[in-house]
């Protein structure tokens, strides 16, 4: 009987951890798509890139964590804003921009994925960041490593801060106004283009944080960018584009699914379930469960 309890507890613990990290990345994607109508297919590669660069800075360049984390966020923002300058801003005014953005960002994703293989593929197949905290904590009856506990706490903090920002801060409320009704938002004097840039920056920053937390809690490999793209797109479509709360709830459900499936079978089968959920949602309610 005790054995079952341990398994159940470890499923709950890892489900919550995986789910919150999914939710962080999906919230970033969802903010971008909800506001700009840009399905950022290279967001998964930015997630992977953040983890890889953190790994490189820590193990190869010997940077301390407090310096490496802001450097990674700054690098992610620099990348995405140079893309905004060169590519994204051309299509802001198009009515059918979603499909254009989907294809362009898929191209960017393929490019980034190739660059990662070229730069990191020769070094190793898997990448694990040295844990920022040692030892284990007992959440009765399963041991959880302190590094994972730290990752979970940080992910939960980021999500809470994001929700608070969107509800309370002036800029956050402007963002929500744009994804609720962009015409009325414009009439009320909100600068749409700056709001787009804010969403892009905020979404990307959140995504890079998610990538670093994943790298701390688990082990990265070079295919995880595509897997994360699929998972976060599913979460976004099921939860509703633009809804952080939706991303959180659906992310947790997906995390638990993944944890439960991993007990019995290969976790990739869980991906199959997410894809079916997304497909069903596309047919039944393309705006998602948590849309206004």
């Amino acid at each position: 009987m005790d054995g079952y309890l341990v398994v159940a507890a470890s499923v709950i613990v890892s489900g919550v951890l995986v789910g919150t990290i999914y939710a962080v990345v999906a919230a970033g994607l969802s903010l971008i798509h909800g506001t700009i109508l840009m399905p950022q297919a290279s967001n998964g590669q930015i997630f992977l890139g953040a983890g890889l660069v953190l790994w490189w800075l820590q193990t190869q360049a010997g940077w301390p964590l407090w310096l490496a984390v802001p450097a990674v966020i700054a690098a992610g923002l620099a990348l995405v804003f140079s893309l905004e300058l060169l590519v994204f801003r051309r299509f802001y005014a198009r009515a059918d921009r979603s499909i254009t953005y989907l294809v362009v960002t898929l191209g960017l994703a393929q490019m980034l994925s190739g660059l990662y293989i070229g730069a990191f593929g020769r070094i190793s197949d898997t990448f694990s960041v040295p844990p920022p905290a040692r030892g284990y904590a007992f959440i009765d009856p399963t041991p959880v490593s302190n590094a994972r506990l730290l990752a979970f706490t940080a992910a939960a903090t980021v999500l809470c801060a994001l929700i608070a920002f969107l509800r309370l801060h002036r800029f956050g409320r402007a963002l929500r106004a744009v994804f609720q009704n962009r015409d009325v938002a414009r009439l009320r004097g909100i600068d749409i283009i700056s709001t787009y840039r804010l969403a892009l920056g905020l979404g990307t920053a959140v995504t890079t944080v998610g990538g670093m937390l994943y790298a701390v809690a688990f082990t990265l490999d070079l295919t995880v960018g595509w897997t994360m793209t699929l998972i976060t797109f599913s979460i976004m479509i099921v939860g509703g584009p633009g809804s952080v709360l939706g991303a959180l709830c659906v992310g947790l459900v997906f995390g638990f699914t993944q944890a439960i499936v991993s007990v019995f079978a290969d976790p990739t089968i869980a991906t199959f379930a997410y894809l079916l959920a997304m497909l069903a949602m596309l047919f039944l309610r393309p705006n998602g469960l948590f849309s206004r």
């Binding site: 399905p39 590519v87 051309r90 059918d96 979603s98 499909i99 254009t100 989907l102 294809v103 362009v104 898929l106 191209g107 960017l108 994703a109 393929q110 490019m111 980034l112 994925s113 190739g114 660059l115 293989i117 070229g118 593929g121 699929l230 797109f233 599913s234 479509i237 290969d266 990739t268 089968i269 991906t271 199959f272 894809l275 079916l276 997304m278 497909l279 596309l282 047919f283 393309p286």
Partner: protein, 304 residues
Amino acid sequence: MKLRIAILVAALPLLGLFGDPKGLTVFIVGLVLINMLLASGLNLLYGFGGLIPFTFAGISGTSAFICCNLVLHAGWSFWIALPVGCVAASILGLALSFPAIRLRGFYFALSGLVIQSALTIAFIYFPSLTNGDTGITSIPRPTLAGQPIVSPWLEILIATATVLTVTGISALMRSPIGSMLIAIRDDEDLSRALGINVTAVRSLAFLIASLIAGLGGGVYAHYVGFVSPRTFDVLISLNLWLMVAVGGRGTLVGPLLGALILTPLPFIFQQYTWIKDVIYGGAIVVVIMFLPAGLFGLLQRRAS
């Protein structure tokens, strides 16, 4: 006129056949011709039908796996297995055209991405049919009277199939069905109001395009001799789409031109396979930003 250009472009890679029949050039020529075939099929849906079918590689792969399993394990002849694979692919394609009835534009493309990813996972999780991630190796070449067809002749056979396919698409596009397909692409509501059966015409386009995808997939498997789930993943769909877009969508020559330009590129940087992803990914961005009508469209504009 256009058909003449099409045949000219298709004949161009055949020039490469005057060389060592076992050499790399001849092999690349074969791949160019297969990609021309596949891109022409995709063009029917994207260029003439206005839908981006990200499921194309998966449909092609279904035929490839069925075809080489029938040859390797059931001992069928390639010439009987190939039509079976094609029919299976067109049935699958028709079933997967279902989202097109309800979803438009971005949502259709997204549903295609989802289905394609699910197909790739399915390929990996039926290792009895696909040998999982390792893939199926040493698939025999098509035979004629018991003998495997040797190199220059097999390429010439593929070239014939490609030219026949392009001629078929050309004839289809000059028929009323082709006009209806273009009318639906340009204004769906108006076409419906004019009494065009939108669902039937689109389904027919999917059926024919999937048949071509199946033909290309089966031929690819037996030409290259190796297939794995990754041979038919979402990036392949994306890159076939890229060939159509680079060449010029909605023209007969465009996909041929695109396949001719893009297929040999990775072979220049053989040691660094990742450069292919960087070039193709970059080409997608460039085409979307600067070449909406593709290279053939650019040439046509220069000419006029």
